[in-house]
C-alpha cells in the first residue's frame, strides 16, 4: 500500500474514524489499534518481513531493559553492542551482502586471482534502513541515559512500526516519538486540519511535480549518448525536483497523516532549495537522517572539536556513510565523497554555520548576493546528484561530459507542465518558507485557504501522474 494509491485513500479515513471513535478513552486501545493497523499496512507489501520487524523490535526492547538494569558500564556496553550488531547485521545482510561479495570478487580478479561467485537473491525489506536506525537510536539513547526504557511492549512496538513513517521516514528518535505513545492522544482540530493541508501539499509534490519530471529524467538518464546537451542539462535539473517532490512529498504525507492521529513528527525538509551553501542545504534536506548521523556518528568521532585532520576525516566519514546508507552501489559512495569535497572548504574557512536562519528572513525577496548563493548551491548539488541517479560512475561522468560537449541544439521535448508546476512549487514554498511546510496557511483568510485547496485538487486531478512507488522505498 503506497500513499498515492486509491487503497490508501480508503484505508486512511476508515482507520482514522475507528481510531477516534473507538479508542479515544483508553491509551492502551489507542496503541494496540495503531500497532495492528501498522502491521497490516506493512504486511500489505510482504507479510513475511513482519517477523523481521517484530524480531528487531523485540530484541531492542529487551536490550534496553537490560541496559537500564545493568550496574556496570561494561555490561551496558555489551548490551548496546548486541543491539548494534543485530541492527547493523540485519541491514548489512539484506542491503549490503551482495555488494560486499561482488566487490570482493572484483578485487580478487583485479589482483590476478580468479574468483567466481553467484549473487544471492536477497529481497530488500521495505523500510529496513529507516526502522533499524530508529530502533538503534532508542537503545543508544537508553545507554546514554537520555531516555527511560519503555515498560510497555505494545507502546514500543507501535513506536517502531508507526505506519505513516515506517517505510521511508522521517527517522523518529525515541526521545521525540516514544513519549507521545505514552500519553493518551486527544483530537485537536488545528493539528488535524494542518495535517490535511500538509498531506495535500505532499500529494501535489509527489504526483504532480515528481512524477511529471520523472518522465523526462528517465529518458535523459536511460541513454545519455542519445540526448543533446540541453536535454541532459534539463534532465539533471528535473531530477533535483523529482527527488525533492518524491521524498519531501512522502515526508509531508507521512507527517500530515501522523498529525491526524495526534502525533507530531519532526520536520524532514525545510525548503532546502533556498539554501545558500552546502552546509545549510544538508541542515534542510532529509533532516532526520542528517541529525541521526550527526548525533550518533559525527559527535562521537569528535565532530568539529578536534584537530584539522580529524575534522576533515570526520566530514568524509559522515558523507561516505550517508552515501552508503542510500544504497549498495559505488555511485552513492562517490556521491557522498563529492558532497564532502564541496563541504570541506566551507568548514575550513569557518563559513559552514553562517546561514542558520532561513534566507531573506526579514524581507520578501532575497538580495542579489543571496540569490546568487542559492543558485550556485542548487546547480552544484544538481551536478553532484548525477552520481546519485546514474547507474554507474562511468555513466555519470559520461552524462556530465556530454552536457559540456554542447552537442545538439535542442532542449528536447520540454514538458511545459513540468516547468509550470516547478514554478508553482517554488513560489508557494518561497512564500511559506518560514513555516513548517509549504501549505501552512491556517492563519490566512478563508478564501485563500479554500481557493488553494480547490486549485491544488484540480492540479492534482488534471496534471497528476500515477507511479507505483516512491524513490526512497529502495533505500
Amino acid at each position: 500500500m503506497i500513499f498515492n494509491s486509491v487503497i490508501f485513500l480508503i484505508f486512511l479515513p476508515i482507520v482514522f474514524s475507528i481510531y477516534w471513535l473507538l479508542s479515544k478513552k483508553s491509551l492502551k486501545i489507542q496503541n494496540t489499534y495503531l500497532l495492528i493497523i501498522s502491521y497490516f499496512f506493512y504486511g500489505c507489501w510482504d507479510w513475511r518481513f513482519l517477523f523481521l520487524i517484530a524480531a528487531s523490535s523485540l530484541i531492542d526492547f529487551w536490550v534496553a531493559k537490560k541496559i537500564k538494569a545493568s550496574q556496570k558500564k561494561n555490561t551496558k556496553k555489551v548490551f548496546v553492542g548486541i543491539s548494534l550488531v543485530m541492527n547493523i547485521g540485519l541491514l548489512g545482510f539484506f542491503k549490503y551482502f551482495n555488494f560486499f561479495a561482488d566487490s570482493l570478487v572484483d578485487l580478487f580478479n583485479l589482483v590476478g586471482f580468479h574468483a567466481d561467485y553467484t549473487t544471492l537473491h536477497i529481497i530488500l525489506p521495505v523500510g529496513i534502513s529507516f526502522y533499524t536506525f530508529q530502533t538503534l537510536s532508542y537503545t543508544i539513547d537508553v545507554y546514554r541515559d537520555k531516555i527511560e526504557p519503555s515498560n510497555s511492549i505494545v507502546q514500543f512496538f507501535a513506536y517502531v512500526s508507526f505506519f505513516p513513517q515506517l517505510v521511508a521516514g522521517p527517522i523518529e528518535r525515541a526521545t521525540n516519538l516514544l513519549p507521545q505513545f505514552q500519553k493518551k492522544r486527544t483530537f485537536e482540530y488545528d493539528k488535524a486540519a494542518d495535517g490535511m493541508r500538509q498531506m495535500l501539499w505532499g500529494f501535489f509534490k509527489k504526483v504532480v511535480v515528481a512524477d511529471n519530471c520523472a518522465v523526462f529524467v528517465d529518458q535523459a538518464f536511460a541513454d545519455p549518448s542519445m540526448s543533446s546537451s540541453g536535454e541532459l542539462f534539463v534532465g539533471m535539473i528535473f531530477f533535483a525536483f523529482q527527488l525533492y517532490g518524491d521524498f519531501s512529498g512522502y515526508s509531508d504525507i507521512a507527517i500530515g497523516s501522523a498529525r491526524l492521529f495526534g502525533f507530531d513528527l519532526k520536520q524532514n525538509f525545510a525548503f532546502p532549495y533556498f539554501a545558500r551553501d552546502i552546509a545549510e542545504f544538508y541542515r534542510r534536506w532529509h533532516m532526520s537522517l542528517t541529525n541521526w548521523f550527526k548525533d550518533y556518528v559525527y559527535f562521537p568521532l569528535g565532530g568539529s572539536r578536534v584537530g584539522l585532520n580529524k575534522k576533515i576525516r570526520n566530514v568524509f566519514i559522515i558523507y561516505l556513510i550517508s552515501g552508503f546508507w542510500h544504497g549498495a552501489n559505488w555511485t552513492f559512495i562517490f556521491w557522498g565523497f563529492l558532497n564532502a569535497l564541496y563541504y570541506v572548504p566551507l568548514m575550513l574557512s569557518k563559513r559552514n554555520r553562517r546561514n542558520l536562519e532561513i534566507v531573506a528572513a526579514n524581507s520578501f525577496l532575497p538580495s542579489f548576493r543571496q540569490g546568487y548563493a542559492i543558485f550556485e548551491t542548487f546547480i552544484v548539488t544538481c551536478f553532484i546528484r548525477v552520481f546519485f541517479r546514474a547507474d554507474s560512475i562511468e555513466d555519470a561522468f559520461l552524462y556530465i561530459k556530454r552536457i559540456f560537449s554542447f552537442q545538439g541544439n535542442t532542449w528536447g521535448n520540454l514538458d511545459k507542465i513540468s516547468i509550470a508546476v516547478i514554478i508553482i512549487l517554488l513560489v508557494v514554498e518561497w512564500i511559506n518558507r518560514k513555516e513548517q511546510h509549504g501549505l501552512a496557511i491556517g492563519n490566512r483568510p478563508v478564501y485563500i485557504r479554500w481557493g488553494s485547496y480547490m486549485t491544488l485538487f484540480l492540479i492534482i486531478l488534471f496534471f497528476g501522474k500515477s507511479s507505483t512507488s516512491f524513490i526512497y522505498f529502495q533505500f
Partner: protein, 309 residues
C-alpha cells in the same frame, strides 16, 4: 471533531461533484475504456480486440440495420477492448455475459477474430486458470452498466489521464467506438507507426501459443450468444504483410473459423480477402481510421443484412 468532519466533508463533496461532472462530460476523453461501462446492458454487441474497438462504428451499423427494416434489437454497443485485455477466454466471456441484456431475444453479435485471440502468453498456464488479462478491465469490474461508474475509477485510477479533457488523441464515443484523432497522414508517420505495430506482432510469435482453454471458451460464448440472437464472425481488413505474419503463426486460422462457423450455422466475413481491401484505410497497418472504418462498417452491415435475406 464535528467542525473537522464538517469541513473535510465539504471539501470532499466539492471534489466529488467536480469529479462527477468531468466523468459525465468528458468520460470518453480521459480514459480509453470508461464509457464502455456507463451504457445500459446491451441487446446487441461488437466484440473483439482493438481492431474492432477502433474499426467498427456502432452508429453506422445501427443506422443501416434500422433503415433495412430488420427487427434486430438495437442499439449495438462496441464492447471490444485490446488484445491485452480481451482475448477469447473465460474472463471475457464472463464480462460479456455481464454486459448482455438477458432479455434480448433477437440481438446481433459481431465477433471480430484474430489468431492472437486464441492464444495464451508463454508465462501463463491457462489450464490452471491463470489468465494474463484477469486483473485488467473489463474483468476487474462488477458493474458494467452504471453512469457515472465510480467502481471503474476506484479500480483503474491509474488508467485515467484527466489532462485529456483539454486535448486528446483518442476519443471513446458513448457507443463504445474509439476514434483515433489528430493523426499525421504523411508517409513517414504512417511507416513509423506501422513499424512499432509490426515489431510488436513479430514479438507475439515468440510469446504466444494457441490455447485449447480459449478455444473452448469461444465455443461456449457462441452457444451463450446464440440464445439471444444472431452471431457473426468477422476478420478485419489489415495490411498484407501483417496478414502474412499472422498466417505464418496460425496457417489454419481461416479454416478453423470456417469450420466453427459452418458447424454453428454462423456467417464468417473475412475482410482480409475483400476486393476493396485497400479502401479500408488504416493508420498503422491494422487499425482502421475513421474514414476507412465508415466504409468497413457499411460493408459489414451490408454483409450482415444480405446474409439473412
Amino acid at each position: 471533531m464535528k467542525k473537522y468532519i464538517k469541513k473535510v466533508s465539504l471539501f470532499l463533496f466539492v471534489c466529488f461533484v467536480i469529479l462527477t461532472a468531468i466523468l459525465l462530460k468528458y468520460g470518453g476523453n480521459i480514459d480509453h475504456f470508461y464509457n464502455k461501462f456507463t451504457t445500459p446492458k446491451a441487446k446487441s454487441m461488437i466484440l473483439g480486440d482493438s481492431r474492432a474497438m477502433q474499426g467498427i462504428q456502432p452508429e453506422i451499423l445501427n443506422k443501416a440495420i434500422k433503415s433495412s427494416g430488420k427487427d434486430y434489437e438495437l442499439p449495438v454497443y462496441n464492447y471490444a477492448f485490446t488484445i491485452a485485455q480481451t482475448p477469447m477466454g473465460p474472463p471475457y466471456r464472463k464480462s460479456i455475459l455481464r454486459k448482455l441484456d438477458k432479455e434480448s431475444k433477437n440481438g446481433v453479435y459481431i465477433l471480430s477474430l484474430t489468431p492472437w485471440m486464441f492464444c495464451s502468453g508463454d508465462d501463463y498456464n491457462d489450464d490452471l486458470g491463470e489468465f494474463r488479462e484477469q486483473d485488467q478491465p473489463p474483468h476487474n469490474m462488477l458493474y458494467v452498466d452504471v453512469n457515472p461508474n465510480y467502481e471503474y475509477i476506484l479500480r483503474n485510477l491509474n488508467l485515467f489521464s484527466f489532462r485529456h479533457v483539454f486535448k486528446t488523441n483518442y476519443l471513446l464515443h458513448k457507443d463504445g467506438w474509439m476514434e483515433r484523432k489528430k493523426l499525421s497522414k504523411d508517409e513517414f508517420s504512417f511507416n513509423s507507426r506501422k513499424k512499432v505495430q509490426k515489431d510488436m506482432i513479430v514479438d507475439f510469435l515468440d510469446y504466444y501459443k494457441l490455447s485449447n482453454v480459449r478455444k473452448q471458451s469461444f465455443y461456449d460464448l457462441i452457444k451463450d450468444l446464440k440464445e439471444h440472437g444472431d452471431v457473426f464472425f468477422v476478420r478485419s481488413p489489415i495490411d498484407l504483410d501483417i496478414l502474412e505474419i499472422e498466417n505464418k503463426f496460425y496457417p489454419e486460422f481461416d479454416n478453423f473459423i470456417d469450420s466453427v462457423a459452418i458447424s454453428n450455422g454462423i456467417k464468417y466475413f473475412n475482410f482480409t480477402r475483400h476486393p476493396k481491401l485497400k479502401e479500408f484505410s488504416n493508420y498503422d497497418g491494422h487499425h482502421i481510421d475513421k474514414k476507412g472504418g465508415e466504409l468497413f462498417t457499411k460493408a459489414l452491415a451490408d454483409s450482415i443484412l444480405s446474409a439473412n435475406q
